[in-house]
């Protein structure tokens, strides 16, 4: 599978540092990291589907929304314990993911992206109109049960969830399934010509992506304690997810994580200087320059830098 001890060592080091972090940083920073953790989960979900297979989803908030709304409605309206509402939300998201998958049987590229964008918009409109007594309509719901309280606890919870998903996906993508999904992104016809059922493979990618999005969405709503359609089915939220995956390094696991942290902190540090929407301008500019310099993202830049450093140290440098 190509797992080297350096990989394991890096994972362990990363986990140890992150677990020790609450001792060293402020609660405000922890809250920022909590958002980064959730963004990383959503970006990994997006990447499994779009980064690998090339079926660009512009409707990921649709999947996240199913997870979030299902769990919120079940616990807030029907008194389900969170331990039951979250798994049910994941199941609901996977059913929603099947719906999401249907256009992928026939179309790809920008057409697929547009259809998925329509899914998100449809969900945004429906949530406000259909059964507002359940969804809370335009205003959404607040006072939803939270799993735990305080920045530190929520930090540990969100980090554990993120790292478990990331590790699991890292292992899955190291197998031949990961290779096959990436191959679909490069040339779907050739995958078919290699004797593989691409419909089955794509369905697997959609189900994995929906599983992660549903899980992340459900945990996220029980962290926030509130939900509103405007915040969730929002084009800015969607682009933050996509840009996180792309800027960090699509088709990897570490890339979307790096991208999510980079973006979250970038926006956070820009906030005191540029409190308004201008900071999205700066963030867009930085994303664009980075992407033009290295389309494979920050991860690739770091990898090349590391390689050069090693070459210089070994005396083989230019």
């Amino acid at each position: 599978m190509g797992i080297r001890w350096q990989h394991i060592a890096l994972w362990i080091a990363f986990i140890v540092v992150m677990l020790a972090l609450p001792e060293f940083v402020s609660k405000g920073t922890l809250r920022t990291i909590i958002f980064a953790n959730f963004l990383a989960i959503f970006a990994i979900s997006w990447d499994v589907l779009s980064g690998r297979t090339g079926y660009i989803s512009f409707g990921h908030p649709f999947l996240i929304g199913i997870g979030a709304y299902t769990s919120a409605i079940l616990s807030y309206r029907f008194g389900f314990p969170v331990a039951a509402s979250i798994p049910l939300a994941v199941v609901a998201t996977m059913i929603g993911g099947t719906l999401f998958f249907l256009p992928a049987l026939r179309i790809r590229g920008s057409y697929f992206a547009l259809v998925t964008l329509a899914f998100m918009e449809l969900m945004y409109q429906l949530v406000q109109v259909i059964r507002p007594d359940l969804t809370g309509g335009t205003r959404g719901m607040s006072g939803i049960e939270t799993i735990t309280r305080g920045a530190v606890n929520n930090y540990y919870l969100s980090f554990s969830l993120m790292v478990i998903i990331a590790l699991a996906m890292w292992l899955v993508m190291k197998t031949r399934l990961g290779t096959a999904l990436s191959a679909i992104g490069m040339n779907e016809e050739s995958v078919r010509g290699s004797g593989l059922d691409t419909t089955k493979l794509k369905l697997a990618a959609f189900m994995i992506a929906a599983f992660i999005a549903g899980l992340g969405g459900a945990f996220y709503v029980h962290y926030l304690g509130s939900i509103a359609p405007r915040a969730l089915f929002d084009i800015n939220f969607l682009f933050t997810i996509i840009v996180a995956a792309l800027i960090g390094g699509a088709s990897t696991i570490i890339g979307p994580m790096i991208g999510a942290f980079f973006l979250t902190f970038l926006l956070e540090y820009l906030r005191p200087v540029l409190p308004g929407a201008e900071r999205y301008f700066i963030y867009g500019g930085i994303a664009l320059i980075l992407y033009m310099y290295q389309p494979k993202g920050i991860y690739e830049v770091a990898k090349q830098g590391w390689g050069r450093l090693r070459a210089v140290r070994a005396g083989a440098g230019p």
């Binding site: 016809e189 050739s190 059922d197």
Partner: protein
């Protein structure tokens, strides 16, 4: 008697264009059949129909007596039929071995997840088509046209076929590369593989086939030994454009 591959009265229309017009032919076990004809004669369409990339408008395609007309491409490959393309289609961001890995993959997600790739077999296939050990980690962008054809052959051979459809395998190759590929095809022939070869390079094609079918406008013009087909006045007319 059933043939490894048999087409019965196959018709394919693309809108108003009839690309395949009531074609019937078969190949025998271990036979090498050449499919020749001018551009647009419908040779590649035949391959697409056999592989299920397009569905025929009418007629039957049989594989060892079984009608495979309704089967998806992967199921046909599972029955031992495979093809190469006129323009090689490698996976651009994967090296030679990873490209071959795709062909070796079982069509089962569970097995993909639980079993490791067979590296030994990947290397064996790569070397068998003429790659050197230095090539194994090269990416398609670093390969010549001849190497890309070899790569495609290796990936296709990885699906363990008994019938191979080779589409313009000599196009864009140097004389040396043509000799290499021809040698490879001959080896497969000796090993009992059933082949259908489409080529414009008739001189290179001739020694590789037992029988030829000339087609034009989606129909068979002549059939028989290479010499007999080439002597046919209709074939000459279709190539030279005369009446």
């Amino acid at each position: 008697m059933s043939y490894p591959l048999e087409l019965k009265d196959v018709v394919k229309r693309f809108g108003g264009l009839t690309a395949t017009n009531h074609m019937s032919f078969n190949v025998e076990n271990g036979e090498s059949l050449g499919l020749i004809g001018p551009n647009g004669a419908g040779k590649t369409t035949i391959f697409s129909l056999i592989m299920g990339e397009h569905r025929q408008t009418a007629g039957e395609i049989l594989c060892n007596g079984e009608d495979i007309s309704a089967l998806p491409t992967y199921a046909r490959i599972g029955r031992g039929v495979c093809r190469t393309y006129q323009i090689p289609r490698p996976f651009a961001e994967m090296d030679v071995l990873e490209n071959i890995r795709l062909g070796l993959m079982p069509n089962s997600i569970w097995q993909m997840l639980t079993r490791n790739p067979d590296r030994y077999k990947e290397i064996e296939l790569a070397l068998s088509v003429g790659f050197s050990e230095n090539d194994l980690n090269r990416h398609p962008a670093e390969l010549s046209m001849g190497d890309l054809r070899k790569l495609e052959l290796a990936r296709t051979l990885a699906t363990d076929p008994s019938i191979m459809l080779l589409d313009e395998v000599f196009a864009g190759l140097t004389a040396g590369e043509i000799a290499q590929i021809a040698d490879l095809i001959n080896k497969k022939r000796e090993a009992g593989m059933t082949l259908i070869i489409v080529s414009h390079d008739l001189r290179s094609l001739e020694p590789l086939i037992d029988r030829a079918i000339a087609m034009n406008h989606g129909s068979i013009v002549a059939e028989g030994s290479f010499a007999k087909v080439m002597a046919d006045p209709d074939v000459r007319a279709s190539y030279l454009g005369g009446e």
